[in-house]
Structures are given as C-alpha cells and as structure tokens.
Symmetry: C2
Subunit: 166 residues, 2 copies
C-alpha cells in the first residue's frame, strides 16, 4: 500500500502533516509531491520535502490525498495533476481531499453526480462542477472521501484508514 | 478512556495537534489543559482552547501527554502540574512526552532509573534527573512513552495507541 499526497507552497500545515504522520503510523509508505521538486513551506511555516509530480509513476499508488490551504488554487491549473486525478477516479482508487483540496477535483471534471464536502466557501464550485455539496465533517461516496477543515481531521483520517485496511 | 494533554503558549504545534486529532480519531475523549484557561497559541500560530489545570480532576484521566516547544520551560516550574505528573507515575498510568516535554518529568522527580528519550539538547537534564537517555525515535519503559521531535510522531502515536488499546 502506497499513498501520494499532492500539495504545494502555502499548504494548510495540519492538513498535510496530520495525514502524513497518520499514514506512516499505519505502516503505509507515503510520498509528498508538488509541481516543483524540493522544500515547500506551509501557511504556518512548516517545511516539507516534495518530489516533482512529473517524476511520479502514479500507477504505484493506491491512495491520493489533497490537503487544503492556498496550494489547491495553483494546483488546479496543472494538467499533469488533473490527468492523474482522472486516472485515480477512473480506476476507483481512494481519493481523499480536505478544505480547499476538492477544488482540484472540480477542475479535474470528476465530480458529476458525486456527494462530497470541503470548506464552505467552495460549495458553489462543487455544485457548478456537478457535485452535491454536503456540510458534514466527513463524506464518503465510494472511493471519494472529503472533509471541511482541520477540526474534521480525526473523522477524515478514520475513514481513510478504514478504507486502507479493507 | 480519557486523555489529558498539558501544554501552554508557544507549544510545538504539530506535537500537540497530531496527538490531539489522533486520540479523537481513536474515540478517546481528549482534554487540553494549561496553567491559564483560554486560547493559547503555538510557535507556528495555531490556536487551541485549554481548560485551567486547577479545574482538572486528574483521577478521571488514563493518559497524560506532554508536547514540546517552549511551553515545558514554563510548565516545569508549576507545582500543581509536577504533583499531577507524580500521581500519574505512581499510579502507573500512561505518561507520554515528546521533544522538550520530558523536561517536566525531570522536574517532577520521576525519572530515577527510567529509560527515555527527548530532543537531544535535554539529554543531560534527563541524566541529571537520574534517567537514562536513549537517542531513539520512541522509547517505551513501562508506562512511560517518549520521543524526540515531530518526525517521530508516527512511532510515538503507534506506541501510545497500542497501550490505549491494551
């Protein structure tokens, strides 16, 4: 089991670090990737080393996790990432996104008819992309797991780990 | 099962938030306490609401967790906390500390003959308090679980959760 976290500069620190450490605790090999290879800094100043998205073979990974913060605004314009998201969704692999992370799913065009959540400010983006926005701490719709903000992390991670174990 | 996290202003954010969210994920009721009641801010700017230590009945709790950062320097001078630590240790309840957190254990006089770790800079403080310092990502000595820094959090939490389940 291998997990891929994709984010970028100004990620929401806890939404990257809590899942990262939790997946490692579970014994899941976890890789952080970004558009550029190297150290990236979160909104709260934590630094995380990332590999370049272009250097990833996404067929090796079983889980994709998209943290929030300001990073998704930039990431959602990247076609390499949007195509990768499309492959994960088509193949029914687990895709987890929190806060502003689901914006990337909206841009990837994978939300038609799906139920999900995210930070309240992106509810319209989700609806415009054909998704159904629910204001709940975690929404599980098949392979898709979403949450709203850092305080949802316990429930977000509980569902992600449950799916990793099944 | 109830857990008590004790810290204060300028806590190391990830060393408080990662355990806090992880314990909640596990379904463990978790309370954050500090010397003063109210919001306290971490080194990286995260704000956490705490109850006052004086308002806690520590007999209700089964696990004590002490994050690092700058908070332990202040906390280790507080006799209410040092007595609470003494009771947890005497009663064999789980006591977990990370980074600078073990400084509080040194001041509480509970380390004689015990094996533990912490950030490398406090190795001498641990030895002077009668403890044996080990440079390992997690050290489990009976009821005492310790780690060195944020990157040890997956191994720290794995041992804490294992003990909570046993």
């Amino acid at each position: 089991m291998k997990a891929l976290i994709v984010s970028g500069p100004l990620f929401e620190d806890s939404e990257l670090l809590v899942p990262y450490y939790r997946l490692l605790e579970e014994g899941i090999e976890t890789q952080v990737a970004s558009l550029a290879r190297g150290a990236m800094q979160g909104k709260h100043g934590y630094k995380v080393e990332a590999v370049g998205l272009a250097d990833i073979n996404d067929q090796e990974y079983h889980l994709l996790l998209l943290p929030g913060g300001k990073a998704p605004i930039t990431l959602r314009a990247n076609s390499t990432l949007l195509e990768l998201v499309g492959r994960f969704m088509t193949q029914g692999k687990t895709v987890a996104a929190i806060c502003h992370g689901p914006l990337i799913l909206a841009s990837a065009g994978v939300l038609a008819g799906r139920h999900l959540t995210g930070v309240r400010g992106i509810a319209r983006d989700i609806e415009r992309a054909g998704g159904h926005y629910l204001d709940e701490r975690v929404v599980v719709d098949g392979n898709l797991i979403t949450s709203r903000h850092p305080d949802d992390l316990p429930y977000f991670m509980r569902e992600i780990i449950k799916r990793c174990r099944s």
